[in-house]
Symmetry: C2
Subunit: 369 residues, 2 copies
Amino acid sequence: MKSWIYWDNYKEISQMDSKLLTPGPVPVPDFVMQAIQRPVIHHRTEQFYSFYLDLLKGLRYLFRTEKSVGTLMGSGTYGVEMMMGSLFRKNEKVAFISYGKFSDRWADYGQLLGLDCFDWKIDWGKSPTIKEFKNFLDKSPELDGIVLTHSETSTAAILDLEELAWEFKQKNPRGIILVDGITSVGAMPYYHDAWGIDASITASQKALLNPAGTIVFALSELAKDKLLETQSGDFSNVYNFVKMAEKGSYPFTAPVQLLYGIKAALDHIQQRELPAIWQACHQSSRIFRKGLQELGGKVFPEKASDSLTAFYVEGKNQDEIRRKLQEKYGWILSGGQGELKGKIMRVSHMGTSTAEQMVNLLKDLGELL
Amino acid sequence: MKSWIYWDNYKEISQMDSKLLTPGPVPVPDFVMQAIQRPVIHHRTEQFYSFYLDLLKGLRYLFRTEKSVGTLMGSGTYGVEMMMGSLFRKNEKVAFISYGKFSDRWADYGQLLGLDCFDWKIDWGKSPTIKEFKNFLDKSPELDGIVLTHSETSTAAILDLEELAWEFKQKNPRGIILVDGITSVGAMPYYHDAWGIDASITASQKALLNPAGTIVFALSELAKDKLLETQSGDFSNVYNFVKMAEKGSYPFTAPVQLLYGIKAALDHIQQRELPAIWQACHQSSRIFRKGLQELGGKVFPEKASDSLTAFYVEGKNQDEIRRKLQEKYGWILSGGQGELKGKIMRVSHMGTSTAEQMVNLLKDLGELL
């Protein structure tokens, strides 16, 4: 089997023995943990500014962009909601494609912000097709923006971001495309500039192999111009983070230790190169799904993301299988969320979830079934 | 000299050799760094819930409260602003005592939130007296709340929180007292319940000896009742964090590694006991100020906080002294902010800033002057 696997070098650098396979948080490699322990420095120093400018270069590589990038503190939800609040004004017409728990959340938050929401609800497990999307756009007025969840972590479905972004811009050249790239950026092909994305966001505890608590983002010129200039003390407006990042500075106390960790991961990603990492993720998912099929298991979404697999075994109690996988073998997977509670299991293909680990997981899963 | 110093045991447990003496971030002791490196666990597990409930017990000890406590992600500004946005509604009458950069910031944010702000501006370096405060309250209508900055980190001044809170509640029994305790909680006597505080907030990189990125808070029953119930996906409303904390849970992906660090600090604080830590902080400040006076230096604020000292040496270039302290001896102090830029230096008395370190710093400062 090994001959056709893209065999990666993760063994040398990460907690290869960790059996934590939840689609975030992922195990944090030792080299990231070591970076986090470096001595504390103050964030209003030249030492910090030059470090942060270097980190931002790594972020440009990650997002495939030459535009503005930056970091925030919080989980993925903080990031997407801060960005929504910063980029969209009350009563603006903003579209949402809701096809799972997280994309639903952004639509709910749009309501809370007082946006004029055009919410396209799709059954969980399905993904929007280009044809349907064109119809949706035809029925909608001119839009000020759209929020797209590239990889829907709750259903493990993916949407064709490149194509959807293209179609959206044909109709709404001045509309802002805001992307939740939380289980996509760093795990699969993602091109902020080439695809015409205006705001891309991901969180540290996914393909960035870091502890939860940091958000990273990229912005197009269009998005940057639209950020509302506010008082420097407003924590929830991304403008201050972007403006100050130009000189390597941070509007509030910077989470220096967390940023050390992000920098270490970005260095690693640049050294290993993105296509190799995307491919490792892809291989992990394909090996798992192939083996799963042989065991009689089924992939839940119609169009599955590379970064995680949602699956079930017909006629079985999914939570029971998951419990046994942990008790008997130590594997930690996630269950379903919301309406999928008890109906699926979810396994990560990011970070330390290598092809080899998938082979081992499948062996143990086979024993159980 | 040593005979009258309350001699603490910090040498054994922390980066005693660190010369970082900024009033946040402070050096992170090894036992905190080690805790942060513990293996990643998922936040939707019994393992996390029992860990988090234990952590919350430690927070109750820290704040001296039996009420609700919780954690958020971000810097101190995130914490105070999220709390303001969660506790105060548009057009509510809220008072502010602005006596430095941070207390000014909360008043500005009050404007941004659309509060009916009663902003009492005091010269930087001064603190409000009880008599003046009574006059201020007499001239104000009945208030829905007040935001008080216990220790104003920019000027190193302190206000008499216990007395001000008492006076405020005499006039406004239903008004919410929100306290920025960022350089106070854990560094000096602070009693959330006994003083009748409704919302207390502090940040990780101060007396909690942790990397920046985590906020901790305590809420009275009055404050808890006032939190507006919103959609579960709203990151900026503290309600969700409080509600879910009751069962040890977290509304979003929890920053598990950061929380490991906070728990380690809280364990340490409980073991060492708060009065001993408050006393160590007090001693560090008194030894520094006594020595400073002997060298001809002056403490800047009229009523100085125990957690840091803002000072200057007349007729000298303060930034030049600071630069030389770092270049020649490695000491890292902060300068002034805003209108105090270039006019003062600031030194921390929190965490690893021991009495012994102050003696060493004074020796080197004496050489320079």
